[in-house]
Symmetry: C2
Subunit: 594 residues, 2 copies
Amino acid sequence: MTINERIKELRALMKENNIDVYFVPSADNHQSEYTGSYFCTRAFITGFTGSAGTAIITQTDAGLWTDGRYFIQAEAQLKDSEIKLYKMGNPGVPTVNEYLEQVLTPGSTLGFDGRVVSMSEGIHFANKFSGKNIKIQDKLDLIDSIWKDRPPMSEAPVFLLEEKYSGESTASKLERVRNFMKENGSSVHLLITLDDIAWLLNLRGRDVMFTPVFLAYAAVTMEQVHLFINESKISSEIKTVLDNDGIVLHPYNDVYSFTENLAASEVVLLDSTRLNFALYNRIPQAVKVVDKMNPSVLYKAMKNEIEAENIRKAHVKDAVAHTKFMYWIKNNYDKEVITELSASAKLESLRAEQENFLWPSFGAISAFGAHAAMCHYSSSEETNCQLMPGTFYLSDTGGNYWEGSTDITRTVALGEVSSELKMHFTNVLRGNLALANAKFLYGCTGQNLDILARQYLWNANLDYNHGTGHGVGYLLSIHEAPCRIRWQQGFETIPLSHGMVLSNEPGIYIENSHGIRLENELLVRKAAKNEYGQFMEFEVITYVPFDLDAIEPTLMRDDEKELLNNYHKLVFDTVSPYLTSEETEWLKQYTRAI
Amino acid sequence: MTINERIKELRALMKENNIDVYFVPSADNHQSEYTGSYFCTRAFITGFTGSAGTAIITQTDAGLWTDGRYFIQAEAQLKDSEIKLYKMGNPGVPTVNEYLEQVLTPGSTLGFDGRVVSMSEGIHFANKFSGKNIKIQDKLDLIDSIWKDRPPMSEAPVFLLEEKYSGESTASKLERVRNFMKENGSSVHLLITLDDIAWLLNLRGRDVMFTPVFLAYAAVTMEQVHLFINESKISSEIKTVLDNDGIVLHPYNDVYSFTENLAASEVVLLDSTRLNFALYNRIPQAVKVVDKMNPSVLYKAMKNEIEAENIRKAHVKDAVAHTKFMYWIKNNYDKEVITELSASAKLESLRAEQENFLWPSFGAISAFGAHAAMCHYSSSEETNCQLMPGTFYLSDTGGNYWEGSTDITRTVALGEVSSELKMHFTNVLRGNLALANAKFLYGCTGQNLDILARQYLWNANLDYNHGTGHGVGYLLSIHEAPCRIRWQQGFETIPLSHGMVLSNEPGIYIENSHGIRLENELLVRKAAKNEYGQFMEFEVITYVPFDLDAIEPTLMRDDEKELLNNYHKLVFDTVSPYLTSEETEWLKQYTRAI
């Protein structure tokens, strides 16, 4: 069936259901960052397979909205269909909201599947269109009837995360959540975000690419946890564990009827930025709602001491694999054919040799030369190319281990590179070092610190168009809320707190030339406490050298060289015990003091 | 009449008026930072004369709330009265709001003069007590009947600020405000903040200590400006000017009846953080309200090019006076008796010698040794002391000139000081230099930049408990909204924009020992614009040396020494033409490269 045929069928269904405008976002029922193939309805109806995009279909028009990362790909994938590409951010291009306002005339009806729309977006629609005689029909997954060979939802089994890894029992976590519920006068806590549920129950799964979570909804009460999940995923062993914690199983979709039947006396704790619109709409009018950030968001962001110690171990293993990779690539790229894809495979195989490695924590970025200037480049058979001397190779990769998830970016020089490339590399490195060595008072957020990473680029009228850092989950989301390092406003602003893990990844991207990103992970620690308050600092937990071949030492101050030399000494001491003698010799050379 | 007698009279009036709890804040009708003596009702009823404090009186209790700056002074001033001191911020001390919740039992009435309570605080009270059968009576200035010799409101004449100083006509300013009103669908703009009114009308006055403003309210419509002011302040010359701009005069207090009589079709633009509760309450229920930051707040913060050029001139004059002062003090403190008060008088007299000097822009801080550890120290006959060798002297002062207002702090070493003092001084200076030389993308606020000023102190587990910078008005408020440099959240966050003037004043305060603050003013300028955005930078517009006797050069990096040397070269080149040959020789020595 061609895309145009699919759209034709959709339009017939829209007519049947009195829908004038049908809206298809890129989401699953759980507001996940990565989604399973079952949820790729937008890709099915448009043919565009990029991770971010929104489709809107009317009887006369069909449009796809996506951002600059995907313009080229979307153009190619849409060219044989009637779908018009709306290049988000380009001058004169209406936003999704502006377009909806144009096409939704009084008396018309907007339709969508409310499970894949966030509560806040749904409410935004409802508020916007309420006074204009525009109806919203949010219970229609029209794509489902057209998509004959729709992949089933994942049936992967759930597995336990033992307390030696999680550092805290489910009972203890539930107690904390219930105390928070009491403090906020609530009796039921609705939770649909998969990482919150996995953290709370010390369970993991494999229903989503990379992120070790499982499809489920939860409703926490003072006595029980109602877990809505396909029961075939739960082994009898796990069932016993859950029983002991008062966790009751229900079919996956029953969360909607459960919510509809909440007694009027209940008070529901929910997070409007992390609930879907459909579930919100099922809450009876009489039930009071308390809208707060899910308490587990903050609890899981602040890793306990057992998790922290595990994460350090994961990073040592990751560093061994990555150092071997750097040694291999720098010594062999000019002796054998190494491509972006083969390099990426090599790094994954080195990680796989490490104990307790599970699978990659996200899709690898393996980018040579100008490819690295595209921040979110993903190499494919079409774009794959051989590594050659005279420029940089960038790899942004990570692993899921039982001891936690890693995320690291290194950029290495292949042969001699130009002084401009070295200047860019050195200034990115200086920013990375400045941020990693910051000391600050408790209460600071990433907003306060971001400038430390950018200052040397900004001084040279340069910048990178992405955040400096994101939170990292423990065998969970590689981009974990709520902490981040960004200078812009408009994000959740949570103080950087003891136990949080964040990335530190300044970069620079020169179109058609080169891209640089240097990413370590930081563990937030308490430092001195005195009359001024609680001081905080970072522990760097990534142990991989920054390529000295790419550095121009004359651009670094003495104090910066000292920071780099100290870091490189830590790298050598940490990693060398696990290397061959050749690799050790190489590492000694590449961690020498400058 | 003793304080206790005043309170007794107040209680009788409270009974007469059925008031159970009477609330007296420290404010005028215009939410001003500094107030005229007419408005010192809280000082009258308590005897406490500090600038910040709140009194609450019931039939059985009388309390005063003030902050750490004033504990000692308040204790002394309250000791002969029945008033209890509530030390704000101390453990176990209820806040004003907590106390009100305790004493306001169901059925009781809270009374105050709504003109001296902000709209947002009044609404906060109303919301908090509405469900609890507690009444609010906001039209009672009970102090007025007790205060027999209450000073009259200031009758000082209003004067014109010519366009060669303001850089923009009233007509042009009104056009901008009216365009903003149109964009926000409003027909009347209520304005009570004195600096907004003075800026808009290119008028100044002297009704408030230091700040060159006049008591008035304004209501801007599309055709007219209704100016509510005591007409005796307006000369016939100014009256003609006002007529030409469509400005209609009304008696000062008529703004309340004017507001009561607004037609239901009007839409009022107001700023809930900058209106008083009484005026808000007079707006008829049927009138729609648009709550936005007064547009003039941002307009006046962004100085135009004529204002900027004037401000530079004011700072040159200020620097001449201040450099002469430094020369004098460092050469004479050990030859003659110089005290905090005489030093302060000397500096004021040197400023007064400058052309177009009007009066000080705020109350001088002149603090020797340990006195400087109190951030807001104000020397008096009781505390005044002689300047002696071996420690620091700090002066934080400023002037109002026709060309703008200045604010500068210098700390100077008297004789040889200890290495600890030099270390503190040097790290404060390094922070000042780092902030002044920041480059950043447009969109950054002071929150993003504050860490640059604090980083060297934070690295040493030190801090200063005040903001790094505040906006500075043009012959208006010395602390001007909305821009500021603070790391904490919870303030208006406005991007630092071309034309804004901010202070840069890191410090350090060691109780019973010494205090250091180094304050320059910064003018925000556009720098390069490219594919990354609009870069911004600061122009330092204070031209006074940092005392080289207080610096430990070995603590400074080479790049920091270069910044200091460049600044000192600018200081010498700017100021030396206006000095005597002895002063010039001295300045050459004190601006030498290190």
